[in-house]
């Protein structure tokens, strides 16, 4: 597993307080991991901080699963 994927998953686990085995690449933050809209904003902000990148609002809206986040950050960095 790539370094980015590891770090993304770690943030998701810490932030949403979910079990590690639930954080699969296809897991949806809202539907599978119990996040609310504010959690998704906080996750995006945490990703920005961790990876030193900026995630514009229109891109942030499309980040709905763990894989979406990994893909976006891989492309951006």
């Amino acid at each position: 597993m790539s370094d980015i994927a590891e770090r993304v998953k770690k943030i998701v686990i810490e932030h949403l307080g979910v079990e590690e085995d639930k954080v699969t690449e296809n897991a949806s933050f809202i539907e599978d991991l119990g996040a609310d809209s504010l959690d998704t904003v906080e996750l995006v902000m945490a990703f920005e901080e961790e990876f030193g990148c900026e995630i514009p609002d229109d891109a942030a809206e499309k980040i709905q699963t763990v894989k979406d986040a990994i893909d976006f950050i891989s492309k951006a960095s």
């Binding site: 504010l38 906080e42 902000m45």
Partner: protein, 245 residues
Amino acid sequence: MFDLTGRKALVTGATGGIGEAIARALHGAGATVVISGTRTEKLDALAGDLGERAIAAPCDLSDRAAVKALAKTAVEQAGGMDILVNNAGLTRDGLAMRMKEEDWDKVLEVNLTAGFLLSQAMLRTMMKQRHGRIISITSIVGAAGNPGQANYAASKAGVTGMSKSLAQEVATRGITVNCVAPGFIATAMTDALDDRQRETLLSGIPMGRMGSPDDIAAAVLYLASDEAGYVTGQTLHVNGGMAMI
């Protein structure tokens, strides 16, 4: 009751009568208080008087870059942020027919926009902590209007609407957002009134007297406390009964 030991607060406009009373009340309840204002000397004197747990951070709130810098400095110096008191405010009174655009802009910028920018910045810290209090000092005129104060009344009504929106956005994170709306408070400004003006003014107040800065500070202290954790999106009117809304 109302123990703020270990809490960190930022009070803007701390060199004014009400701001100073708020800073003293929060500090007296045990909080570390970052005090901001434009009058550096007065600010330093207040910080010196409060002693430990008081940090002076001068800022011109009409400068957006300075506002953002203040938010950063306050969090760094206090080591976190639990309580934001948006108290700073200014007036540029005049009848609407004659009001200059710059007087409109200046009042909205300092009273409303600076409060939003500080709230936005502090919410980041407060969200992570799962605890926070944002308290804005508004005014009775924000609800009732006042001739000659279209800009000021609009800014205060704006803060009320903003606070209710923020309150809904962050309620699940242990953050409350409220307003305290003073009526007539005895300050240097009201000291300048003549007897007849004073009498007219007091006749509209059931209590028959003006409020003091400490009356406002007590309301802020309550809203900042853990005891007020279930109160959000509200305006606490502290006005001797002059308007019951």
